[in-house]
Subunit: 463 residues, 4 copies
Amino acid sequence: MHFTDNNRVEDLQIAYIGGGSRGWAWGFMTDLAMEEQLEGNIRLYDIDRSAAERNRIIGERISAHPDAKAHWTYERSDSLAESLTGADFVVISILPGTFEEMRSDVHAPEQFGIWQSVGDTVGPGGFMRAMRTIPMFVEIARAIREFAPDAWVINYTNPMSLCIRTLYEVFPQIKAFGCCHEVFGTQKLLCSMLEKNGIPGVRRQELYTTVTGINHFTWLTSASYGSVDLMPMYRAFAESYWEDGFCEGKDDNWMNNSFDCAHRVKFDLFRKFGAIAAAGDRHLAEFMPHSWYLKDPETVKRWKFGLTTVDWRVEDLRKRYQRSDDLVSGREAVALNGSGEEGHLLLKALLGLGDLVSNVNVPNRGQIPNLPAGVVVETNALFGRDRIQPVYAGPMPSNLLPMMARHIYNQENTLRTAMTCDRALGLTTFLNDPQMEIAPEDGKKLFDRMLEAQRGYLPKEWF
Amino acid sequence: MHFTDNNRVEDLQIAYIGGGSRGWAWGFMTDLAMEEQLEGNIRLYDIDRSAAERNRIIGERISAHPDAKAHWTYERSDSLAESLTGADFVVISILPGTFEEMRSDVHAPEQFGIWQSVGDTVGPGGFMRAMRTIPMFVEIARAIREFAPDAWVINYTNPMSLCIRTLYEVFPQIKAFGCCHEVFGTQKLLCSMLEKNGIPGVRRQELYTTVTGINHFTWLTSASYGSVDLMPMYRAFAESYWEDGFCEGKDDNWMNNSFDCAHRVKFDLFRKFGAIAAAGDRHLAEFMPHSWYLKDPETVKRWKFGLTTVDWRVEDLRKRYQRSDDLVSGREAVALNGSGEEGHLLLKALLGLGDLVSNVNVPNRGQIPNLPAGVVVETNALFGRDRIQPVYAGPMPSNLLPMMARHIYNQENTLRTAMTCDRALGLTTFLNDPQMEIAPEDGKKLFDRMLEAQRGYLPKEWF
Amino acid sequence: MHFTDNNRVEDLQIAYIGGGSRGWAWGFMTDLAMEEQLEGNIRLYDIDRSAAERNRIIGERISAHPDAKAHWTYERSDSLAESLTGADFVVISILPGTFEEMRSDVHAPEQFGIWQSVGDTVGPGGFMRAMRTIPMFVEIARAIREFAPDAWVINYTNPMSLCIRTLYEVFPQIKAFGCCHEVFGTQKLLCSMLEKNGIPGVRRQELYTTVTGINHFTWLTSASYGSVDLMPMYRAFAESYWEDGFCEGKDDNWMNNSFDCAHRVKFDLFRKFGAIAAAGDRHLAEFMPHSWYLKDPETVKRWKFGLTTVDWRVEDLRKRYQRSDDLVSGREAVALNGSGEEGHLLLKALLGLGDLVSNVNVPNRGQIPNLPAGVVVETNALFGRDRIQPVYAGPMPSNLLPMMARHIYNQENTLRTAMTCDRALGLTTFLNDPQMEIAPEDGKKLFDRMLEAQRGYLPKEWF
Amino acid sequence: MHFTDNNRVEDLQIAYIGGGSRGWAWGFMTDLAMEEQLEGNIRLYDIDRSAAERNRIIGERISAHPDAKAHWTYERSDSLAESLTGADFVVISILPGTFEEMRSDVHAPEQFGIWQSVGDTVGPGGFMRAMRTIPMFVEIARAIREFAPDAWVINYTNPMSLCIRTLYEVFPQIKAFGCCHEVFGTQKLLCSMLEKNGIPGVRRQELYTTVTGINHFTWLTSASYGSVDLMPMYRAFAESYWEDGFCEGKDDNWMNNSFDCAHRVKFDLFRKFGAIAAAGDRHLAEFMPHSWYLKDPETVKRWKFGLTTVDWRVEDLRKRYQRSDDLVSGREAVALNGSGEEGHLLLKALLGLGDLVSNVNVPNRGQIPNLPAGVVVETNALFGRDRIQPVYAGPMPSNLLPMMARHIYNQENTLRTAMTCDRALGLTTFLNDPQMEIAPEDGKKLFDRMLEAQRGYLPKEWF
């Protein structure tokens, strides 16, 4: 890359791992096309080469859009080495395994009465997804260490904390961070609250929120809009809507779709803990004890959030396949609508084109002083030229600390299990999840069964 | 006190808080009578004055025993101030509340399907016991700060960790530590194992065990007898007896009575975690998830340990009352049998009469580096003249860490709840216990009910 | 205070301790008059009542200036209690003692060959100034705890680190921070460097610098202007000017006057340590070993910075007295020129009127992870509504760490000495300063002599 | 190795690196011959093969002594691999370089007025010795990692802290520790003090001392003999003898010879810092500022300790060569006198033949909580079967902390310099030593000259 006189970056090289993605990739490519200060080349790498190839075509179409302010070139890379060599930035957004494995993640535990609303972060599903994802990230980390050690690495893959944690475990000098839009959703909820309180039209970027926790189990310990403290306002808001829930109206953008919830879980958590849980209710519920929000489908219904089935995901993907066809063939014209994500803004900040404070997933260096050093936490950070400096979030509140620590230590043991294929450690870690309120014998059966179900994606040391 | 030429301490002043104890006090007084290097005066303080008075008489009888090697004097103190002023040592062994409150601790949760084997350390019973005990220890700590700031303080009261933690919270310079014989019981089990392996006659003091954890949830991460590594031997032992349990034969000394268990829980924990859990199974079971060992009375039976009912305790105390009568009246002659406790040896060590390594409950100063500083942990320490120096136990093994941390953070929040009477914090802490695998609404009902049941012993700020 | 609809704060109450200040106060009052979003009342408290009264008059004149955008009212407070009660902000800018004591601080060590360029932060002079300043800050901290516990407290007094440290030692919940313009001076030097490199007109606020260290011994470990990395440019700059020094031209504003230096010390430190020392050379020299830059007046001259004599200060104050007379009497008209300080901007940020990243002196909460927790460090922080969140600065570079730690531990011992009047600790601390390369017997003589010289300002426990 | 029924270890394999040592080796071999519970084989490895061969012969003679209780066999190893493969223990006692390099270490700085009493630990001599020793220990650590990863490793080489630190840096799982008899010397001084106070005949092993610090700059923060607190007694002792010094009488055993001192430095340090410095005055003086005890030979004389010249060492070695000849040839009969060292006792403890508390150099795991983790400190530890567990020493006293931290950070930078051959870091580290109270230009000259003087032993990256 190089900088032009009018503060524009040209010839920027971005490696996109998982570049065949149907969804994320389109949003990212569109955001870049709308940003006039950046331009360059994107290398799409995907184990599904044809998907990468199709995105290459879609990317070129986006670049060719008459309103595009930057004209990126796209190429398909057929190996990690090829995509990474010379890259300034690396974007990682992969799907570990197929829907078959995901079906096991989400639905196998139902046989033992364990219902999961997402199954990709914690719970038995999150654990198993980690077992097959971590080895992939080990491989990616090694490739980055070899081919692009100085590149900045942005991850969007789940389980987020463990993906980032793995990158640093393998290559401690890596410059990696993880982005997730769940906090944005809660910030938008605060904007809706402001509107209800007679202050319409506020954008989430105008708020300041102190973000703290781990991905999908993130909390806001303070929130303000200008000189207005939003915490007392939220208290009243939570009390008003706790019983019936609050609906913001449909949001059809699939990328930001929180799959509809009425925020009852969020309000209930505020009433119990006094801080604003900042993720979709589907995610939050999975971090709390099984008997709280996920005891059975009726309980879930009462708390007004949905169980995302794999059938739904299969159908959703089918539609996106179709849309991919339409975009490639030109049946559907590309449109330049922003994704609402901040990825391109973070790139700009890291290039020195404008400092930014945003929430991010990076190893704990003390930003949350009473959590262990090195584990991946989500807090605000100050982004600037070649630096991400976490902003001090204060100690995790003492009432949240036990559950936060429980998940953090579980995740550390999950990492170690995946790195060592140690069944004994894996089992006790699996059993220690708050969702696993079942007899340990049953837990063991489920553990063995779920491992078996994804045998194809696990190192052979497991068996 | 003063030291004589032949290395003997005379005129030692010991304040005994809870000096009306029926059991512990007798053992302690007997141990002292059998120890020739120490002599002095014991001030028995108890809110039950007549109990203290009766123990004064029993103490004098013990002193008068023809085989007594030391002749201690006994006096009844009618206030903390009186007992503490001028004391070189303080012993605390109190019963917080009556059997009425204990009945609520142990049995009230049964209405919601929660069975407890002891109910005095963790679980809903342990939490509630802490609520009434901590204010008493606040008062004791203040009195020690005022009247005996330089005295060494030995506590035997449960919940042990929280009692010691409270003393240091109120008076950080206190020289307090907590003693518990549960680890001794497991060391004796290792001696039985040695006997089974053809090495009979070993005393527990001849073993070395690396002790780590918190009281009643203590683990041995290494164990040896001379040059013999006991860990592989224990692995075989646990495998052999895991299914049917191991019985050492009845132990009738009530002070050490572990209320009979077959160590199945201990063996199961070893098979899962690879370290030796070092407490009675009744205690260990309460630290693990409800669905593991305490799901229902049948499960408990299968694991071969007992639920200690309050009825049993009432009957047991009745017998000890009777025995107290007999000892006071002389119907029963005092006998000089050692209690098996180490309290008097620790006193000697602190006076400079012989260094000693033993397990002890003191604040974490780094002896377990991956647990928070300041929380009360149980590890080995080197006892010597006016010093207790913890011995480095190494990091808590990663597979044990999540559950250990969970209890530690719960206990910190339990302390804070008791100090502030904060119902919101109290409730989330109460619900976070591994035994509480019930709906939070039910948990709240139980919480309110149990608080009400001990209203008489709680600060009025609660209500 | 209250907020108006157009995002303006009215009726803000500011307590100004040391409100008789001739200089700082004028700049601050002027900055406020030029800021349209804030308005309120300032309570000027000073042990020199007439000085406070004169500033009250000057303040009213500034408020009455036709171009003033805000019309502050001024009142003289005759006690700490009076000034603090109801205050939203507290500004502290006091002069501890008189020129007599300062003369001892700066010049007494010359008898033993120790030359100091400032003598107010470290070295024998800084130590002694701390001895009389810390008791004053103990008193101020107690008053704030009693009368204005929720107010934000801004300190400008030296020795900065120890003043802030004392406030937190006495009242750990205080919301205090310290501001100093030395870093600004170095940022301006970087702007001059940019100009020399063909990029004129850049304001220091447009740079980003990673600030780390302790007040007056602060370092920039990275610096950038947009996408330009300033570190390589500075390396060339330091090499070019190391020998002859670099002169930016006279700066006559006494408040910002760095008393002229040619930055040779700064360049030399860069060549040795690879980071940009960010304070005036006069200050920096005092933190390094005596034999480096302050061996004797000739060495100082060679390094092209000045020894600030107390005679100079006496004369300077005389002029400011005169100016005070002129301003009070109206012989000199008040003028609305900005001071270049950021105090009023930080106030605005804390009120929610605009987030800001700036360097600040607050206790270390992990922003510099390899320095002890709780000591006062200077790094960037994110200022916003009712919060100052330090930005992670990374570990102190290993080559700077030993000298940084030496001063930090000395300052901790200086604090303890001042709090306890412990002569033994005081002497070893005094001797451990890098300037004290003299025989300890001589050091002791100097210690006793300098203590005696300020007897009037020391607690009687010293003697 | 194997254990016999009567608790004896046979066939123990010890690798002795530096096995040609004239002195240490003889003492160690003799101690082993006198110890009936251990027997086995010693592999003597030395780059001076003939020295190893001669010690082999001497070893055999010792084994053949009629009073020997154990009959060790000796063999010469011609490579690290050969000596290490299969070893249960590794002893390291090497001399890095020749007297030529040592002459530069000790005497080159004299040209700039820097006098060193030993020059092997800190100061310019210690730094330079580290530069050539650390690469040797890197090689040894790698060999141990490859050939004897489970062996216990005992080091006797100086600079002790850095040797151990290097072993752990290269191979973090190493089981290494460092032994030094300097603390024993101070314990013996306490025995002499007891004798002066009417308590004769006490052996140093009967005392308890809380040891804390780094090798050769170790302190006793408490000391007792049975129930007697030795600290007040030492205060009186130090006051009595501070002026004239205290002489214990000649000690002719060269291994323990502290090269005569009158303990004036030790007493002076006690009067200033209130703790007992526990090393010979020659070592202690080098850790304090140049102007305190080592300003010039007259100052040294006044403080009554000696400057150990290299000429003395050359002559001393000549005598030991001679003695080696005599022992090999049989002109001198071997005698079984204990060395006073504890090495063989530590071996026994690690084999499970008797627990032991002794001072030892190992990485800080929290035994001194306010020093950085991982740096090598000297404290007590509990030695037992396959474990060394540091005993908590408490925080370094605040008045000692600054100087202790200064040396520790210097040593960390010394290590990094040696590992990276970074001249810039090396120079600032070299200049930061308390002995270097000279102009930095002179310091640089000395630095270059001393590096040059040992060019033969430095990695070529330096030049």
